[in-house]
Each structure stands twice: as C-alpha cells, then as structure tokens.
Amino acid sequence: MISSDGIRGYNDMILLCLLLEKPSYGYEISREIKLRTAERYIMKETTLYSAFTRLEKSGYISSFYGSETNGRRRTYYQITEKGKVFYQEKCEEWHATKEIVDKFMKNGEESLWKPS
C-alpha cells in the first residue's frame, strides 16, 4: 500500500484519467483504481468524494443521475471539455516534473553515495 499523503496531489489525475475512458460512478472508479494498481493503492471513500466535489466545483467534471439500480439513482460523473484540457496540461507538466525529479532519484545500490 502506498501512503495516501505521497499520492494525494495526483488523485485528481487518476479520476480524470478514468473518466476520460467513460462516464462512471463512485464505486466503479474506486474498484478500477484498486484493480489497476493490484490493490497497492486503495482510495478512501472520503478522498474520493472530496476529489469529485472539488473537480466538479472547478468545472472539470459534471455529474448526472444514472438509471435506477436497486431502488437507488446513482450519481455518474463525466469529464468536461475543460477537464480534458486540464488533464492534458497536467500530464505534460507531470512528464516534465518526472524527468527533472528522476535526475535526483536513484534506486537500489545506485542511491548509495560512492566517492568518485
């Protein structure tokens, strides 16, 4: 399991990425994240709900009521045009960031400081 603090800044991107594929509802998204990360990242319910609310407030996603299942109407979310643009920008930003940060992250033995 990954610490939720470390990944916090990227929750929005995870949701936007999944909504880019198709409109979906809360639990389906949560299950998809768990599945794709092989249970290494499980998004908490409150995290999920706060991300949905924030994204909707910013106009990156919009919600609508789905058809009734089990006597309840599910809230579905879909990505907006503004959301797609935002996602694109953020992806580019991430790759740039990653490239830079990678230069300073060593893994395994490499990270041990060796005098040259």
């Binding site: 319910e45 709900y49 924030r54």
Partner: protein
C-alpha cells in the same frame, strides 16, 4: 448494513440537514454500500465486509470543505440535541408523525365527506315519499335527523382532531433533522408515493367530472319522463362521487404535506412557519359546515324547493377544497 448506516449517521451527527450535507451523506453511503455488496459477493462474511468498509472510509477532515458552505450553521457542538430551530427525529418518531398526519387527514376527509353526504338520506326519504311509501312529515323527519347527526359528527371530528394535532405544531415551525435510516426510508417512500399521489388527484378530478354526467344525461335525454327516482339516483351518484373525490383530495394532500414537512421538500421547505395550517383548516371547517347547513336549511324552508337546494352541498364541498388551499397559501405568505 445497519451498522454502516449508523456509522455514517454518527459521523454526521453534528452537521445540519442542508443539501450539501445530505448529498455527501448519500454519496458516501452509496460508495460504502456498493463496496459492502461486492465484498459480500466475494464471499466475505458480514463482519469482515463491514470491517473493511469502515477501515477504508477515511477521515471526515477530507470532506470538510465539501460541507464548508454550511459552516455557519454547524457551530454547535456534536450531540447538543435540541436547538431552537431543529428537531431531530429517528425513524420511529418520523414514522409516528407521518402515521398521525395520515390518520388526521383521513379523519378530516371523513368529516368533510359526511357533510357532503349529509343530504343524501333526505333525498332517499323524499324519493320514498314520492313513491308513496312515506308520509310527507315522516319523510322530512327521517331526512332531516340524519343530516343534523352527520354534520354534528363531522364538526365533532374537526374540533377534536384540530386540538390533537396541536402537539405537532413544532414540527412544522422548526427544521427537521432525520437520521440516516429515516432519511433513506422516507425518501424512498416519498418517491414511490409521488406516483400514487398523482393518480389519486387525477382520480378525484375525473370523479368530479363524471359525477355530473348522469344528471346532464337525464336532463337532456329524458326531459319528459316522470321518473322521479331516476333523478334522485343521479343526485345520489353526484353526492357519492363528490364525497369520494373530496376524500381523495384531502387524504392525499395531507399525506403529501407530511412528507414535505419531514423531508424539507417542496413548499414546506420554503415556509418553515406554516405551523398552524392544520388547525386553521379544522377551525374553518367547524365554522364553515354549520354555516353551509344553516344556509341549506334556510334556503330550503324559505323556498320549499327541496329538489333544487341540495346543489349547495357539492358546491360547498368543492369550495371547501379551495378554502383549504387558500389557507395554505395565506399561512405561507405570512411566514415569508
């Protein structure tokens, strides 16, 4: 399942029943229920499933901003219980209020239906007199006594029930906070009731229209016939239809407004002070119907045109429906 509901309910105890909070509650509950069902279908035991769902729920701090627009309202500490503006109800209390309001509606509707039907014995006895089965004075007596009894019974119902509803005055003045179980159950009930409500109002309107058909029919087509019993039968039919229609309007209207009060929906949401509406309606009914009765008797004895004067009743019945609506509107305007 109950455990999850209670868990959410406790977490939200200190938050007011505002749209944002309700939405958060509903969405979180839906997320948890979906997860719970999936875990169960994977073969987890009830306890295991609940344990996982609750451990993965997260922290309320995270969604605080989503409820933030309501901050000013939840300045009170958790479990403070009764504030001046809110009443907290659990499922049992909410159900009790709903049941009382429904049975109140039925009683008032029954009283009004009695008033509408009160001249029918007179029509019957007159018909028997026309047929030569009764003497004139006996037929008048047998018609008048039930009329008075029915109106008296109805007035009694209006007054006693108006007083009985007094203890729920608070419910309509203050904001009602339902717990999660009550909110969920009543929202479901309310939604399925909407269809029935629409159907009943439509049925009432259709009945009002249908009630006139036989009278028009006999008047037009059977102008020359001397079948007095036929006219009496059409009059009885009209009274019966109007009585049923009025019964439908009042019972479904009362039930609808009870749901609206509990769930803070519709008109009730905008007029937290429509408080004394029910009692006003009883009060008006207890004055209105005796006046109508007096009017009916006065006009009838003065003109001795008993075959005509009964039109007072269906008109009065429909007018009463109008007065009820007017009272609702006036009470809500005063509140604003």
């Amino acid at each position: 399942m109950e455990t999850i509901l209670n868990y959410i309910e406790n977490l939200f105890l200190s938050y007011p029943n505002t749209p944002n909070v309700r939405k958060a509650k509903e969405e979180l509950l839906a997320l948890m229920e979906d997860k719970y069902h999936e875990l169960k279908s994977e073969g987890k035991s009830e306890n295991e499933a609940i344990g996982i769902v609750i451990s993965e729920f997260g922290s309320m701090d995270e969604i605080a901003f989503a409820l933030d627009s309501d901050k000013s309202l939840h300045a009170k500490p958790p479990l403070s219980g009764h504030s001046q503006e809110t009443i907290r109800l659990n499922l049992k209390q909410a159900q009790e209020y709903l049941d009382t309001r429904i049975s109140f509606g039925i009683k008032i509707a029954f009283g009004v239906a009695l008033c509408v039907l009160s001249p029918t014995p007179a029509i019957l006895t007159e018909s028997l007199y026309d047929g030569g089965f009764l003497t004139a004075s006996l037929s008048e007596l047998l018609g008048a006594v039930p009329l008075f009894l029915m109106v008296a019974l109805a007035v009694g119902i209006f007054i006693t029930n108006g007083i009985a509803m007094g203890k729920y005055e608070d419910y309509e003045k203050k904001q009602i906070l339902l717990d999660a179980a009550a909110q969920k159950k009543l929202t479901g009930e309310y939604e399925s009731w909407q269809t029935a409500y629409g159907r009943r109002i439509a049925a009432g309107v259709i009945l009002c229209i249908v009630s006139l058909i036989p009278i028009l029919f006999t008047d037009w087509l059977l102008k020359d016939t001397s079948y007095a019993w036929l006219e009496d039968t059409t009059a009885l039919f009209l009274f019966l239809c109007v009585a049923i229609a009025v019964f439908l309007f009042i019972t479904s209207g009362m039930r609808q407004s009870a749901y609206e009060t509990l769930l803070g929906k519709g008109k009730a949401a905008q007029k937290p002070f429509h408080s004394k509406k029910d009692r006003r309606i009883s009060l008006v009914a207890s004055i209105y119907w005796p006046i109508i009765t007096a009017l009916y008797l006065g006009w009838s004895f003065f003109s001795m045109n008993w075959g005509m004067t009964w039109v007072v009743w269906p008109i009065a019945g429909i007018l009463f429906g109008g007065i009820c609506s007017a009272i609702s509107i006036v009470s809500s305007e005063k509140a604003l």
